[in-house]
């Protein structure tokens, strides 16, 4: 039987991978992909706790997380296309519209 702590450690490692990607990558599409990694790490935690506590609520929350992830992707890619039209670039360094 796999102990719960292993799932928590796996989920923490995957979350950290996603966080590092969000903080250091230059391509904004890859940054959005890394957000998906973080959401999936959280989903693993929810399902693991749901299995170990014999409560179905964790799986319901994963359902909502997937819904919000789909909404986030649609909006995020819309913003990326809009930014690309404005700046002709997908690099984080070129986005300085809010800079004084």
């Amino acid at each position: 039987m796999v102990p719960l702590s292993w799932y928590v450690v796996l989920s923490a490692l995957m979350f950290m991978t996603g966080l590092v990607g969000v903080l250091i990558r230059r391509n904004i599409v890859v940054v959005l992909l890394c957000i998906e990694i973080m959401l999936n790490a959280v989903n693993i935690n929810f399902v693991a706790f749901s299995d170990y506590l014999h409560l179905i609520d964790g799986q319901i929350f994963v359902f909502f997380v997937i819904t919000v992830a789909a909404a986030e992707v649609a909006i995020g890619l819309g913003i990326i296309i809009s930014l690309f039209r404005l700046k002709e670039s997908v690099n984080m360094d070129d986005y300085n519209l809010l800079k004084l």
């Binding site: 039987m1 796999v2 102990p3 719960l4 702590s5 292993w6 928590v8 450690v9 995957m14 979350f15 950290m16 991978t17 996603g18 966080l19 590092v20 990607g21 903080l23 250091i24 990558r25 230059r26 391509n27 599409v29 890859v30 992909l33 890394c34 998906e36 999936n40 989903n43 693993i44 399902v47 693991a48 749901s50 299995d51 170990y52 506590l53 179905i56 799986q59 319901i60 994963v62 359902f63 909502f64 819904t67 919000v68 992830a69 789909a70 909404a71 992707v73 649609a74 909006i75 890619l77 819309g78 913003i79 990326i80 296309i81 809009s82 690309f84 039209r85 997908v90 690099n91 360094d93």
Partner: protein, 171 residues
Amino acid sequence: MQQLPFFYFGGVALLCAVLVIVFRNAIYSAMALLGMFAHVAGLFIVLDAPFLAGVQLLVYAGAILVLYLFVVMLLNVGGRGPALHKQAPAGIFLALLAIGELGYLVFRSHFYPKLPAIPHPDVPTLGNTETIGMVLYTQYLFPFEVASIVLLIALVGAIVMARGRTKFRQE
């Protein structure tokens, strides 16, 4: 031997997650993400959640990833130039800080062994999908409706933002 599926699915999912941020080309990153979604679905099956494994494959691998691939191909973004942006050192510092904090939290936590299921002899046991449906449409009905509104707003917002030059943006 029971731990073998956990190590396979978890290990490959973690490896794919690392490959997503290592590859320079965004298409390769998206493909690595596809492998990660598939292996996370495998972890869900190991954890007795077959319905979520199916939803994970259908929604993430089937819909979200295809959307990413469309945008990557539409924008034609190659792997040219440096992979890291100008402020990456500050980002690495923040990431190390967060890794230290999370590691401290995980190793300070106490985990209890798996609880035995509470037996209900007079209640018939339902399958995973039936249980999720029962709970979703009774206890979580209001969040379910809110989720539909979130999806509607995302639909309208995505169309408005990706549509291009509209009247209010002309100067």
